[in-house]
Symmetry: C2
DNA sequence: GTAGATGCAAACGCTTTGCCGCTTA
DNA sequence: TAAGCGGCAAAGCGTTTGCATCTAC
């Protein structure tokens, strides 16, 4: 994979963010670093980075897919209802180990949790 | 709202399912009850039922929106990785009350949890 | 009889693809 | 200098809308 200024800008944004970014967010932020950046390039580059395993997809309920470094392990996300930014969280508060069987015969292999509320920068009202 | 056979069929499917249904799933199932049912009708009817508060939207990560009876209270969903059906779950295993503040200053108001695995009807391999 | 509902097809918005000139190694 | 990459514009695809016809009330 070639090292171009477009890819540099896109990867910069993805790796320096404190939460996963959508295609639009990447485009906005990377454009301010490199104006004229095309949308198609962002789509193609994100796809390539994903295929190479550099970034991974974060799917949140009702949101466009977001992308973040693939280095991060199992973690969940917090979405601020005020500023609509999405942040990474550390701890996992879900006490359901792999292999647990729930009433109804559902065997759990994985889970996805998203928390909603207000981030530190957004006042309570 | 008028009582037509199309709406009857659509509502039937939504209320009798044991999990939320996507627009496509509603269309498939309702079509078998009433062939010739148009996609636009399904979209329009679902929108109307939602606006009236009869059904509510269920957004799962990476999935098209699904719809289910609005009567159901706070609950979560289980997605079978084998048959790709989505089921309602009863208990909520997330021990984070509203108002909890997490490290980083995130104040939690709500959450969304989806479990993945195998349903009772799908053998382990 | 009439307002509202349906089905078809066109419009729409976002993502992907084709093409060709430009750039990196 | 040659394969890869970027930008533009066209193609795709799922959802929404306009319109004429039909139907529940």
């Amino acid at each position: 994979m070639r090292r171009t200024k477009q890819r540099q800008a896109i990867l910069n944004q993805l790796l320096s963010s404190d939460g996963p970014l959508s295609v639009n967010e990447v485009h906005e932020r990377a454009s301010s670093e490199l104006s004229g950046l095309g949308m198609a390039t962002v789509y193609r580059t994100i796809k390539a980075l994903k295929d190479e395993g550099v970034i991974s997809v974060v799917e949140l309920p009702g949101e466009d897919p977001r992308y973040e470094s693939a280095e991060l392990g199992h973690h969940h996300h917090f979405r601020c209802l005020s500023c609509e930014q999405t942040f990474d969280l550390g701890a996992c508060p879900v006490g359901i180990p792999r292999g647990t069987t729930l009433p109804g015969g559902y065997t759990v292999e994985d889970h996805s949790l998203t928390l909603y509320g207000r981030c530190a920068a957004c006042p309570a009202n």
